[in-house]
């Protein structure tokens, strides 16, 4: 009997142990230390929001090896379009990402001749007119074609006073807005993206970055005040960094720059007039502080080479230096940091482009020649749900998901903000203050404190008034007794003198 009980107990314990190890194996899959930033801006370990699902090569898709897949775009039909730069082709992959549906090796021009691509590095599909826009870099042109491979329009170097004719025209990224205006990022232009009307007319530049006023530039400005015009003309001009990539979401165009020295304008949200909505935002994109690499003796600062806006409004930024994806919500609060530089699945050697679709992230690598697919984890799903509700203004509905996030990761700063906002909305001021304090959110704390003070005064109004009256009476009494004492003293003195 005893032996049997022992056996049963051991069996149960071993089962539990097995379960434990199996669970931990699932969560330890990331080939890097997942981290996030705490309220002091220091990196701390965090839970993974995405896990690497698989890494897809050209052979997996049945089209032979890819060579430098430098852009990926998820189209309206659910298919993915990859600019296979080294093989001079565009690949269409189905939405499950296991089979190439079609490859575009060549296109047919309006006059019937065949035309080949040469190092195409950008591809975009418009949902409105169902055209494909290809940045055909080495042919110095942008092709607008339909899905059957017939070219609708060919945009070449513009003949315009604004466009310096000595500059080459090498488009690397292209997008089109709802009205059919075409925006082209050129690899040697720092004055913004070239903008074309729907019929291919060059209309100007759009969304140039600002020159960041570093100490050197300010010094140059004062030096130039004392220079002759000839000398000024021969000096190198300080130009802003160019746009590296962009994405369009609704009426806004998001741009990024891969400059590692610039901290302003690394990510911009531009409206139709080209005004940056994020200009006054204090958010830092990429890693807060560059890491010093002792083996190479250089600083590893984030270089954001591609940007993607997910359907729920989250901003995904791809960092080439460290091979990381930084995901922000639409208010630029950091949600997750995914990926690394490594050879394993989930790591990159040279991350090039990024796309999101549903709960997955797709990243192309121009050195591994793969597309890595990341899938949202359970934790990531909760965070996304909560942040989506929060950004929709449904703070109270977002409360439970945020609390669940905190149960899983008590260091997740964004969640404290969410809880504080929810508690503030529902009038639980004391708790809102507590959570705002934990999130370092001074503005929310201030509002919660204002409400708390108002509540306190309302609750204790009679006591406060009574206290005030008593204090007044007490003060008056003290003053009177003092005066009497003084008068008595003076009287005493005068009587002394008289005597």
């Amino acid at each position: 009997m005893k032996k049997q009980i022992k056996k049963i107990v051991t069996a149960i314990f071993s089962l539990i142990l097995c379960g434990c190890t199996a669970n931990s194996a699932v969560f330890a899959a990331e080939p890097y230390d997942v981290y996030n930033y705490d309220r002091w801006g220091d990196p701390i370990p965090s839970q993974a929001g995405y896990t690497a699902e698989k890494s897809v090569t050209g052979y997996d898709l049945g089209i032979g090896a890819m060579d430098m897949p430098s852009d990926i775009f998820c189209a309206f039909d659910g298919n993915f379009y990859i600019a296979d730069k080294g093989n001079n082709r565009i690949i269409t992959v189905n939405s499950d990402f296991d089979k190439a549906v079609r490859t575009y090796e060549s296109f047919i021009m309006p006059n019937g001749t065949k035309t080949n691509l040469k190092k195409p590095s950008g591809v975009f599909l418009s949902a409105e007119n169902q055209y494909m826009y290809i940045a055909d870099t080495d042919n110095s042109r942008v092709l607008v074609a339909d899905l059957e491979g017939y070219v609708i329009k060919e945009i070449t170097k513009p003949e315009s006073e604004i466009y310096d004719s000595r500059r080459t025209f090498n488009p690397v990224r292209v997008i089109a807005d709802k009205a059919g205006n075409i925006y082209v990022v050129l690899n040697n232009i720092t004055t913004g993206a070239a903008m074309f009307s729907p019929d291919g007319e060059f209309t100007g530049f759009y969304g140039a970055n600002r020159v960041q006023p570093t100490a050197e530039i300010i010094g140059d400005y004062f030096a130039e005040l004392f220079m002759s015009d000839e000398k000024k003309a021969r000096r190198t001009r300080s130009v802003p960094t160019g746009i590296t990539s962009f994405d369009i979401a609704g009426d806004f165009i998001f741009t990024c720059t891969s400059s590692t020295t610039q901290t302003a304008d690394t990510v911009k949200k531009l409206n139709a007039a080209g005004k940056n909505i994020f200009a006054d935002n204090e958010a830092v994109f990429g890693d807060y502080a560059p890491m010093y690499d002792t083996s190479q003796n250089r600083l590893l600062a984030s270089a954001i080479v591609d940007i993607d806006i997910a359907e729920d409004g989250n901003i995904n930024c791809l960092d080439l230096t460290m091979g990381r994806i930084f995901q922000y919500d639409e208010d630029c609060n950091l949600l997750f940091i995914v990926g690394t530089n490594s050879s394993q699945t989930g790591g990159f050697r040279q991350a090039a482009a990024l796309e999101s679709y549903g709960d997955r992230l797709y990243v192309t690598d121009t050195m591994k020649n793969t597309v890595t697919i990341f899938k949202e984890t359970e934790f990531g799903e909760i965070v996304h749900r909560a942040s989506y509700l929060h950004n929709e203004g449904l703070y109270e509905e977002a409360l439970n998901p945020w609390l669940e996030v905190l149960e899983r990761d008590g260091n997740y700063r964004r969640a404290y903000l969410g809880v504080a906002a929810a508690k503030l909305r529902s009038g639980e001021y004391e708790e809102a203050m507590e959570y705002a304090k934990l999130a370092d959110a001074r503005k929310i704390y201030d509002k919660a404190f204002e409400g708390y003070r108002m509540d306190f005064i309302k609750r204790n109004f009679e006591l406060i008034i009574l206290g005030g009256i008593f204090a007044g009476i007490a003060v008056a009494g003290i003053i009177r007794s003092r005066k009497e004492k003084k008068a008595a003293l003076a009287a005493e003195k005068s009587t002394e003198k008289e005597e």
Binding site: W40, A436, K437, R442, Y445, D446, F449
Partner: protein
């Protein structure tokens, strides 16, 4: 007339910023104990102002607590002021003794210290939109202290107004020089200490092996 206790003298000076110090000098009053107490309160006020402030007005970096900056902001600065003023004014025919400079300057710091405490307390009752009240109190405290300090230096050395201003400017210069030398000295000491500690390690390794 004016037979006041040391504490009553403090009140008298605060209420008579222009000629209060002259009266005190005339009566040869003023207590060193109270002066040190005021500087100690300044030290506490500095800490309170940084660490106990209302969260909606100021977020401290509350991960570490290092007392050295607060000591520098109160004791070291005050000491440098006293020594600097004494050295400058003994060259400029000042009549003040070290003891008196210390006492008079400390008395002048009362409104500034009080302002810090009052604002720290108020910051727990006021929201950010009402910050202007705290700003007013702050300005009053600083201006009051400045006026007191001016008249303190003037009466302790029996200077004219222009000479007082010159003396104060020179004192600030002397303070800067002193603090720079202090930093230099500290880093020198540090190097010497490091030298001896390496020497010790080196020798101890040799003995062991």
């Amino acid at each position: 007339m004016m037979e006041l206790s040391p504490v009553r003298w403090v009140a008298h000076i605060l209420r008579h910023p222009v000629d209060g110090f002259e009266d005190m000098r005339w009566k040869k009053s003023g207590s060193l104990k109270i002066a040190f107490f005021i500087v100690f309160m300044l030290f506490l006020a500095n800490i309170a102002n940084e660490r106990l402030y209302g969260f909606n007005h100021y977020i401290p970096y509350d991960r570490i607590f290092n007392v050295v900056p607060y000591i520098v902001k109160s004791f070291v600065i005050f000491g440098a002021w006293t020594v600097g003023n004494w050295s400058v004014c003994s060259l400029l025919d000042g009549e003040g003794k070290m003891r008196n400079i210390c006492i008079y300057s400390a008395y002048a710091l009362i409104p500034y210290t009080a302002q810090m405490f009052i604002n720290t307390i108020l910051s727990h009752f006021l929201i950010r939109d009402e910050y202007v009240f705290m700003a007013i109190i702050r300005i009053i405290g600083i201006v009051w202290s400045a006026v007191l300090l001016f008249s303190a230096i003037r009466s302790v050395h029996q200077y004219s107004a222009t000479k007082t201003i010159a003396a104060i400017a020179l004192t600030i210069g002397a303070m800067a020089i002193m603090l720079a030398l202090l930093v230099l000295f500290l880093s020198l000491i540090q190097h010497v200490l490091i030298f001896f500690s390496t020497l010790f390690t080196e020798i101890s390794y040799r003995i062991r092996s």
